[in-house]
Amino acid sequence: MNAYLDREVRHQVTMEQAEETIAEQKIQIDKELNLKGKVCPYTFIESMLALEEMKIGEVLRVIVDYPPAVCDVPKSLKNEGYEILDVSPTNETDWAILVKNTEFK
């Protein structure tokens, strides 16, 4: 299942990789969270806890290496009302999720 997701995500990500990498370079990152080795739902919870501490408009960069988290963390954060700016691989195993703390609720 993980291998399948991994392939799916990798394929999807590769398609948009070039464009997104450029996009990421333009975005100012205010905080980085390394969640390598962590699984769901803790990847989402820790991202959310970090965002709750941040100012409106600030950008968090989350690094994950758990394949399902690449889909699930952005989806859950979006459901909460946060703005997903970018999801892209940084190397063979890791992905970076860029999320903006927005005014909501």
Partner: protein
């Protein structure tokens, strides 16, 4: 407050819920909830509130654990028979969640001590088993401006409401101005009660307490729920503030706490177990 790895793991399944998150979990950790009675209603309520990470739980009960309690009062175990209920309750809650601070009151709650006791809490959950205590808790919550989550059970029936007269809703006396005469309403020991009914209503109370602390969902203020376990039926009534309420009405006659007598027609040594007990 920064969450530890263990706290994130312990509360993860509720922290991911919309409306809770880290902010809500912090509210729960800072919350102080007082539970009147460590019996049929107080037991399930206390267990779930402790599990949810409510920071401080106050538990008041002057009784000791007896074997006939164990059919519904799930805070206590067979090995706890003879212990004060609050001691047994604290042991259960602390073993479930050592983060929770459990404050115990192994004394009869009376008109002279109740205001002092509840003053330090954010919210009161009534799981008392008799009308004098039920009215005392209602009146004290009114004077101290505390939200009251009220639950009651008998046989296969249960009731639930939230009283917040300080925020415009009715109080218990708006529905029932005076306690019924002793003997009119049978007690749980006379009429019986199904343990699962105590569990259902106690957990509804815990659920409402969590909602009030978190500020989510539709409050039970102004609503009165009647539950019947045999039909598995729920009836909800709208309730309003009574302008003639002797406590929170326009011309109140009750200006201080009243101690109704716990009339004893059965041979009980502890007044709380008197024949007027109707609610557990």
């Amino acid at each position: 407050m920064k969450f530890s790895e263990e706290q994130i793991h312990r509360y993860s399944r509720q922290m991911i819920l919309p409306g809770i998150g880290g902010k809500g979990q912090r509210k729960l950790a800072e919350a102080k909830i007082f539970i009147m009675g460590a019996g049929g209603l107080g037991s399930p309520a206390a267990i779930y509130l402790a599990a949810a990470g409510v920071g401080t739980i106050g538990l008041a009960d002057s009784d000791h654990v007896e074997i006939h309690n164990l059919q519904r009062q799930i805070l206590h175990r067979t090995c706890d028979i003879g212990l004060p209920k609050v001691e047994s309750g604290r042991k259960t809650l602390e073993s479930l969640n050592p983060e929770v601070k459990v404050e115990i009151y192994c004394e009869r709650v009376t008109s002279t001590n109740i205001q002092r006791i509840i003053k330090g809490y954010d919210l009161v959950l009534d799981g008392s088993d008799n009308f004098p205590t039920r009215f005392l808790v209602n009146d004290a919550c009114y004077f101290e401006r505390k939200t009251l989550i009220s639950g009651a059970i008998l046989r296969y029936d249960g009731q639930l409401s939230t009283f917040k007269p300080h925020a415009g809703g009715p109080c218990y006396r708006c529905l029932c101005p005076e306690p019924p005469p002793p003997g009119l309403v049978p007690s749980c020991q006379e009429a019986g009660v199904l343990g699962a009914v105590a569990g259902i209503i106690g957990l509804f109370q815990a659920n409402e307490a969590l909602k009030e602390i978190l500020g989510i969902g539709q409050s039970m203020v102004g609503r009165f729920l009647l539950f019947n376990a045999l039909n598995l039926s729920f009836t909800e009534m709208k309730i309003q503030r009574n302008p003639e309420c002797p406590l929170c009405g326009e011309n109140p006659t009750i200006k201080e706490l009243i101690e109704y007598s716990q009339s004893c027609s059965t041979q009980n040594t502890v007044p709380l177990q008197a024949s007027t007990r109707t609610l557990d």
